[in-house]
Structure formats: C-alpha cells, structure tokens
C-alpha cells in the first residue's frame, strides 16, 4: 500500500469514527433525557449513605466518596510502605552484611513482579465473580479491564474500584515478600522469582478469593453462600498464615544455610531492623484500618485495636526477655511489635479494646516461645523467623478472632444480608465461631503446605533452588546482584 492510498484510508476511517462517535453521543443524550432526576429525598439519602458507608441508591451510584477514597489511597500507600522499605529494612538488618542487598533486591523484585501479575490476572482471579466459584474469582477484570474509578459494590459502596484494586495489590506484594525471611541468604534470585510467580497463582490468588472474594468459600462476612462462615479482617490466614507456613516448608526443602549452628549469623544491623519495624508499625494502620475499605467506624475500631495490640505485644516480648534472660533487647521489642501486629490482623475490625490487649499479651508470649523454644528443638533454619512470627502469629490470631469477635464493634458480623444466611450470625450470638476459624486455618494450612511442596520441587527441577556453595559463602549481594551493601 503506497502513502497516498494509506492517507486516504486513514481519512475514511476518521470520518467513519467521527460519525460513530456522533451517533453514540446523540443516543446517550436521548437516554439522559429519559432519566428522571432524583428527588431531593433521594439526594439526601445518598449523602447520608456516604456518611454511613451504605448503599447510595441511584442518586450517587457509581460515584466514589471523596473521604473514603482519600483514606483508601492513603492506606494503599501505607501498605506499600510496609514492604518498601519497611519489611526490606526489617529483614535487611537481620541478615549478615554480605547479604543485605539480596534481601532488598528480593523485596524490590517481588514488588514489580506481583504488580504485573496483579494487573494481568491477579485482581480478576481474586475479586472477579464470573466463574461463580467459591475457590477462584473470574475473568472479567483481566488486565484491569473495567476497573475504573467507579466503585465495585461487591466490595465497597464508596471506594473507587481502581483504588480498591491497588490497595489489595499491596497485600499481594507483601505476602510473598514475607516468605523471604525464612529462606534468606541461601536461595537464588531467579528461583525466588519463579517460585513467587507460581505460588501467587496456586496459593495466594485462590486463597484470597476464598476469604475475601464475593463468592468466596470462607467469606463469612460478605458471602451469604459461604460454606465456612469464617472471618479474617485483614489477612491473618490470607497473608500471615499462608506466607508463614509456606516459608517453613520452603526453608525445610532448601535446607539450612552453610555453617548454620556453627558460624555466627548475628544480625548485621539492628538499627536498620528497628527503622524497618517502625515503618511496618506505621504502615500497618493502612493494612488493618484500611481493611474496613472505608473511612468509617469499623476503620476507627481497627485503628485502635492495632495500636493497642502492637504496643502491648512489643512490651510483653521485651519484658519476657528481661525476666528470663536479664536483658530486654531491641530485637525483642521489634519482634514483639511485629508479632502483635500479625496477631491482631485478622481480628482488628472485629474485637474491642479489651480483646486487643489480650491479643497483645498472647502475641508477646506465644511467638516468643516459637522463635526460641520450638526452633531450638527442631533446629530448622527459619533464618529471620518468618514461621515463628507470621505462621504462629497468624494462626493464633485467626483462632483468637473466633473467641473474641463481637458484633458490638462490627454489625456486619450479624448482618441480615449475609451473616444470617451463612450461619455466621448464629455463631457470633451463640458461640462456636472458633470452629469455623479452625476450619479456615486447616484449609489455609493444607493449601499453603501442599502448594509449596509441589512448587518448590518444581522450581528445584527447573532452575535449582540454591546458589553454588562458593556463591553462598561469598554472599548473594555480589554473586546475585553484582553490588556491595557497604563500601566503607
């Protein structure tokens, strides 16, 4: 085709496009003319719905609420801040200095990788409903198609769906990044990226759909047809149990670091670790209070319970150390704070202040015992205690939520639309929620463990898991990334 011919074709296409657009515009105008404007009552009701975070009705349908959106964008940024640089520094400080950059690179790499996965299919597989399946979402939001600034009322009346998708993406990023802690200092970068890709598809996306998807199997609060009416406010099962148990399995399959138990493997910088802890602590407000997916009273309650549990757990862990060993250590305070945040995660929007303090105390004791006693007995090399803090803490939190959740702080637990239909409301009123929670714990545990066993051996067969012994001894900063953390 020559140039003049091409130009002619283009001109024809332009004319056709303009005519088509005009026709669309005319028909839209014709439709607008047919719509009856909302009455003053309807408009007032919509504003009240905005304040109450309820269904706006037709007057403000598909309009994001500015306050709710503002909080959710803030929360999404806070949750990203938890990974970059919060978790990266928390973990980075705990490894030896020859591996500090490898941990940072793994967190950075996972952030980019999971973002691409989330855009391509992750969001759709978790929050879509086109399959009508309790185990996996759908195809309607592939490549974020149709995910606009209008709210998706399956998940929030007033939050733009694109903001909701970005907020949830930050959870999908931090979850595999948590696994890095157990396998630190001894897994090849390409093996990690391949494992994370597969793990997101096989473990995270299905699990997140089961717990949070509108048609999810274990979504007690928002799915009237949920078979297991369990509750998980911000990811005790989805985020912490899944990453923690998978981390244990992966670290067992990998084997211990060269020199584990013989060489000194002390943290190279508890200063970085403490800085990272502070960022996790602050970022967790987005994680927990943001999980209300609104700037409402439930978010306010989650904000309060998160604050209490983290502080109490950090103090408890430090004091347990002081009593049993004579020193309250910085790492002890940091570990306790993170443990407190982990354990309150599934409960944050469902328990009151007293429940949060109880959770804080237990979070300061139980993960402490897991990191010190359990690890000493079984001698697995969970390098940075991902299992001890996240798996044990997440499991503990999911179970405690079953005992401490109360409709006094969250009326969704007894809603007529969902909770009364799937049996959650009865469990809240008459007790027994902990049984549903145990079932959810069991499902999460089996999916994480079995999924990780299969995927770890698959990755091992495809690209190998461990670096060469010389590379591991030299440190992954140089061998995997060609850089040094500290040139002094």
């Amino acid at each position: 085709m020559n140039h003049s011919c091409l130009r002619k074709t283009l001109r024809q296409l332009t004319v056709a496009g303009a005519l088509f657009a005009l026709a669309l515009g005319l028909s839209a105008r014709a439709e607008v003319a047919k719509i009856v404007p909302p009455t003053a009552d309807e408009r007032l009701a919509a504003l009240e719905a905005y304040v109450n975070n309820t269904d706006p009705g037709k007057s403000l349908a598909l309009t994001p609420g500015p306050g709710h959106n503002a909080w959710m964008m803030t929360s999404a940024a806070l949750v990203l801040f938890m990974t970059l640089p919060g978790l990266a520094l928390f973990y980075g400080g705990l490894v030896r200095k020859k591996n500090v950059l490898s941990v940072l690179a793994q967190c950075l790499g996972i952030t980019g990788l999971v973002t691409i996965l989330w855009w391509a299919c992750g969001y759709s597989l978790v929050f879509g409903t086109s399959y009508g399946s309790p185990f996996i979402g759908g195809t309607e939001f592939l490549f974020l198609s149709g995910v606009t600034s209008a709210p998706n009322t399956n998940y929030a009346y007033w939050v733009s769906q694109n903001v909701f998708a970005m907020f949830q993406m930050m959870f999908a990023i931090i979850t595999p990044a948590l696994i890095v802690g157990a396998i630190a200092e001894r897994m090849k970068f390409n093996a990690i990226l391949l494992f994370v890709t597969l793990w997101m598809m096989v473990v995270y996306f299905p699990l997140a759909h089961m717990v949070w998807g509108a048609t999810g199997w274990m979504n007690g609060v928002w799915n009237a047809a949920a078979v297991i009416p369990a509750i998980d406010f911000a990811g005790g099962t989805v985020v912490h149990m899944s990453s923690g148990w998978s981390a244990l399995v992966l670290c067992l399959i990998l084997g211990p670091r060269i020199g584990f138990g013989r060489e000194k493997m002390a943290p190279h910088s508890l200063v970085l670790c403490m800085v990272g802890t502070g960022m996790l602590y602050v970022g967790w407000y987005g994680f927990n209070a943001g999980s209300a997916v609104a700037s409402d009273g439930i978010a306010a309650n989650a904000f309060t319970t998160t604050t209490l549990a983290a502080a109490v757990a950090g103090f408890t862990w430090g004091m347990v150390e002081k009593v049993t060993r004579g020193h309250a250590s910085v790492l002890g305070f940091c570990s306790g704070i993170v443990a407190g945040l982990v354990v309150i995660t599934p409960a944050a929007g469902f328990v009151n202040a007293a429940g949060a303090v109880l959770i804080g105390v237990l979070a300061g004791v139980v993960p402490f015992l897991a990191c010190t006693r359990l690890k000493a007995v079984f001698k697995y090399d969970d390098a940075l205690d991902t299992f001890g803090v996240h798996a044990v803490g997440g499991t503990l939190g999911a179970l405690l939520t079953g005992f401490l959740a109360t409709a006094d702080v969250n009326s969704n637990l007894v809603s007529a639309a969902y909770a009364e239909k799937n049996g959650l409301a009865a469990l809240i009123k008459h007790g027994g929620l902990w049984v549903a929670q145990l079932k959810a714990i069991g499902v999460t545990l089996v999916l994480s463990v079995v999924g990780t066993i299969v995927l770890a051996y698959l990755v091992k067969a495809l690209v190998g898991l461990r670096p060469a012994p010389e590379a591991e001894q030299q440190g992954l900063d140089i061998t995997d990334h060609g850089e040094e953390g500290y040139i002094l």
């Binding site: 000194k264 493997m265 002390a266 943290p267 060993r325 020193h327 250590s329 790492l331 002890g332 570990s335 990191c371 010190t372 006693r373 690890k375 000493a376 205690d385 001890g388």
Partner: protein, 112 residues
C-alpha cells in the same frame, strides 16, 4: 630506641593520648583492633540464637621512643589506661633498629 605497643580499652584512648602528650610524646599511630586475653568474650542472644563473641574491640597504640623515655611512657600509659578490672590490656616493648623521617632523611633518635 624502642617501639611501644599498647593494647587498651577503646574508651581510654583520649586519656592515654593526653597522658602521653604530658610526657612529651609528639606522635603515635592508633588502630582499632579485636582480640581477647583473660577477659574472654561475651554472649549475644538474637531471639533464639545464642553466639559467643570471642574477639572484643580494643585500641592499639604504637609509639616509637628513645630509650631514656621508655619508663616514663609506660608509666603514662598504665596510669591513664588502668581501670583495675579485667581487660585493661597490655603493653609490649620491642627493640627498634632504626627510624627514618621521610621528609628529611634523618635517621635514629632525631627522627623519633
């Protein structure tokens, strides 16, 4: 001439430097070193992991001096570095064959 090597507790460095200045010592070389003697190391615990740290941080001072001031220098270091507790360090005195001041090519006592 003698080369005096003193291994001391790091926090005593300033006092030792002043005491040496007071007896007329005009130059020294200082290095941060690690080691242990009878003091041995200490234990560090990170969550469940316990490590014994054998090598403790110390400061090494090297001073070249004329033979007639050796006793004064030793007295200055012991006087200022002593805490009376285990781990105060040691002083080694070595014979020194020659000293050269690079700028002037001077040798021996005049170069010290």
């Amino acid at each position: 001439m003698k080369l005096i090597i003193a291994i001391i507790k790091p926090f005593k460095l300033d006092e030792v430097k002043e005491a040496l200045g007071a007896v007329g010592i005009e130059g020294m070389t200082v290095t941060e070193v690690k080691g242990f003697g009878r003091q041995k190391g200490h234990t560090e615990i990170y969550r469940g992991s316990e490590y014994t740290v054998d090598f403790l941080p110390k400061v090494k001072i090297e001073i070249a001096v004329a033979d007639d001031v050796v006793a004064q220098v030793i007295a200055a270091v012991t006087g200022s570095a002593k805490t009376g507790k285990i781990g105060d360090g040691k002083i080694f005195v070595l014979p020194l064959e020659d000293v050269v001041r690079i700028r002037t090519d001077e040798h021996g006592d005049s170069a010290v």
